[in-house]
């Protein structure tokens, strides 16, 4: 009786120990994964800031005007050649 109980308890202890090892392993693994993703998130944030900057640089009014005037041959509109439509007017 007592021998059987000892074997059973020993097995339980070994089982617990192994599961602890496994849990520990899993947690490290997940932590590394989390760390990697955090890093990735930071990088994406930097990329986003970079893209916002690029957007602002490329969307500069000065540049748009330059391109509109020189390569697209556009000119500023004047009220003299503008047709205004009033909402609801017949």
């Amino acid at each position: 009786m007592s021998v059987k109980l000892n074997i059973l308890l020993t097995a339980a202890v070994v089982g617990c120990a192994l599961s602890v090892v496994n849990a520990r392993y899993q947690s490290r693994h997940l932590l590394i994964e989390l760390e990697r993703l955090n890093q990735h998130a930071r990088q994406l944030e930097i990329d986003w800031a970079q893209l916002q900057l690029d957007q602002s640089t490329l969307g500069k009014n000065e540049r748009i005007e330059q391109i509109a005037r020189t390569s697209l041959n556009m000119s500023p509109l004047t009220p003299a050649r503008t047709q205004y439509l009033t909402d609801g007017a017949k």
Partner: protein, 591 residues
């Protein structure tokens, strides 16, 4: 030595066949306390050990635990970026990106082959001689270059030069460059605000880096997270009131005007009438905030807000408004401006022409000094001073902008009659262009004045009533008549829109005297008149061409600005007049 030989050693008693118990040494009579002393000392030593163990394990645990932790724990720095600055539509005006500072231990670096150093110099964009000068072997650690962009840093790291060290830092980028720089400002190499909004909102924008305690494994991976040591705080993003498009329009208008009229400098500001937001604030000359190597004071100066000037004729509507408000005059009151000058305590105040007999509207339209002086003589100085104070002249500005000037209005008790007469048409007191623009709020709105804001405003501010809505409407009509072919600001007319405003010209004070040659031209206007949206103020400093007055330099600049701004803001036109008439010899206001 062999066994046989040892047995034969005569010095040991046993070897002579004497048993241990019979050893003669035992027969020596030793006092019994001696063994007790030994026993006690041994026992005491064990007690000491046990006590020490108990002390270390149970009572004073901190020190050793700390020491233990420091041998496997690492603090990881968590960087915090400075907040972005954006315009009212979310376009980025300033943003920080991570870069690296490249530093070196000179002794180690100098051991490297020459071609590697040449390559390093090329990547750092500096001549090799300069690099070698920096690598002074007497120093242990030197910065080679700060704020090196990541691409270059990666290439430098690939060179695998011994003794090169890199440190993380941030670099601030300003995509809108010189157009926006007087408003946004800039930061120094330590990421600290130096000018403009960067300086004023330094505390909010600044990030506080945090740190985290971790355990690393052999490969440098984080094996266990022990929790946050200090939470990182990213800087807050700032949304300004400025509109990039209007700012660009204001900037180009001022820039073109400065070049066209051969002026020393220029400035313009656009305010939102409804919210008090500063939609644009442009200055020329300017500078590129991304490259500040050749910066001069003239470029850095924010003329709209830190410079004061004598407002000149732009203050006349204020004098008239007070007269109307206190019922001392009505729009139909007539004043005789003959014979083109007036004597005030022996001093002569003149108009450019003899305008004859005019009503109040005519005085504003022609910008008659005599008429305004006559109106001011009906108003006690104290009331005028109170009016100036309500409008913010000479008051510490609460604009939320560093270096904003208060202007100067002397206490009314010290005003001499001639000084008071001069003040009625804008001399003897000084204000900034922004203060002047703000005071026109009382005309553009229905008689109340609201605080200005450089940040985007969500709730409409509550105004402080200065004049009645009726007076405001009366002055508005007069201001509109100024911007007509018969007024001094005929060049401020905008096709398709009704615009009102007032010109001004002031002689600059050079070495304490009014200069005959240097002057400043202003225009402060409201557009469109049917439902005011913008207050536009323009200042052209020291035009050296043929055209020099506010009406001929500042008014057309404001017209150009207003035309583009109204169109950009999708304001429907409120006038069917599209071909404007500018007389060959427009009316000039007096100085």
């Amino acid at each position: 030595m062999s066994r046989v030989e040892r047995r034969a050693t005569p010095r040991v008693a046993a070897s002579k066949g004497v048993a241990f118990s019979k050893s003669p040494v035992l027969a020596v009579n030793v006092p019994s306390w001696r063994s007790r002393v030994v026993l006690f000392v041994l026992f005491a030593a064990f007690v000491a050990l046990a006590a020490r163990a108990l002390w270390l394990q149970g009572v004073s645990t901190q020190f050793l635990q700390k020491q233990g932790k420091s041998r496997y724990e690492r603090l990881v720095e968590l960087p915090a970026a400075r907040g972005k600055i954006m315009d009212r539509h979310g376009q980025v005006l300033a943003s920080s990106l991570p870069v690296k500072a490249v530093a070196a231990f000179p002794k180690e670096v100098l051991k490297e082959p020459n071609d590697k150093l040449a390559e390093l110099a090329r990547l750092l964009e500096m001549p090799e001689t300069e690099l070698r000068a920096k690598l002074d072997p007497k120093k242990t650690y030197v910065y080679l270059k700060r704020q090196v962009e990541m691409d270059a840093v990666e290439k430098i790291e690939k060179l695998k030069i011994d003794g090169i060290d890199t440190r993380k830092e941030y670099k601030r980028y300003y995509p809108q460059g010189e157009v926006m720089t007087h408003l946004v400002g800039f930061t120094n190499v330590e990421d600290k605000g130096q000018e403009g909004m960067e300086l004023f909102h330094q505390k909010a924008l600044m990030g506080v880096p945090g740190s985290r305690r971790v355990i690393r494994d052999r490969l440098g991976h984080i094996a266990e997270d022990l929790g946050m040591f200090r939470e990182p705080h990213h800087g807050k993003d700032l949304t300004l009131s400025v509109d990039s498009k209007l700012q660009y329009i204001a900037f180009t208008s001022v820039k073109n005007a400065v070049e066209k009229f051969n002026a020393q400098a220029g400035g313009a500001v656009v305010l939102d009438v409804e919210t008090g937001e500063v939609l644009a604030m442009a200055n020329y000359p300017t500078y590129n905030p991304n490259d500040r190597s050749n910066l001069t004071g003239a470029q850095l100066r924010n003329r709209v807000i830190t410079d004061t000037f004598e407002p000149g004729s732009t203050i006349k509507p204020v004098t008239v408004a007070l007269g109307l408000e206190t019922k001392r005059i009505t729009p139909d009151t007539v004043f005789d401006t003959n014979p083109g000058y007036i004597m005030v305590t022996g001093k002569r105040i003149r108009d450019t022409h003899n305008y004859g007999v005019r009503n109040v509207g005519g005085i504003i339209q022609k910008s008659s000094n005599i008429g305004v002086v006559k109106i001011s003589q009906m108003i006690p100085p104290q009331e005028m001073w109170e009016m100036y104070t309500k409008l913010g002249y000479g008051q510490a500005p609460r604009f939320g902008f560093p270096g904003a000037t208060a202007g100067r209005v002397r206490p009314w008790k010290s005003w001499k009659p001639i000084e008071y007469a001069n003040m009625a048409f804008g001399h003897g007191l000084s204000v900034s262009l922004l203060q002047m623009a703000r005071s026109y709020m009382i005309f553009a709105r229905n008689g109340d004045i609201i605080p200005l804001s450089f940040l985007k405003v969500d709730e409409k501010p509550v105004g402080q009533q200065v004049i009645s809505p009726k007076t405001a409407a009366q002055v508005r009509t007069m201001l509109e008549s100024v911007v007509s072919p018969e007024g001094t600001a005929s060049k401020a007319q905008v096709p398709g829109y009704r615009v009102g405003g007032k010109t001004g010209t002031a002689e600059k004070i050079v070495n304490g005297h009014y200069s005959r040659t240097d002057n400043i031209g202003y225009f402060v206007g409201i557009a469109p008149m049917s439902k005011p949206r913008f207050i536009i103020a323009v200042m052209i400093d020291n035009p050296r061409g043929a055209l020099r007055t506010g009406g001929s330099v500042a008014a057309p600049t404001a017209a150009d600005l207003a035309a583009n701004a109204l169109r950009a803001a999708n304001v429907p036109p409120d006038s069917s007049i599209t071909d404007i008439i500018i007389p060959d010899e427009p009316v000039e206001e007096s100085l």
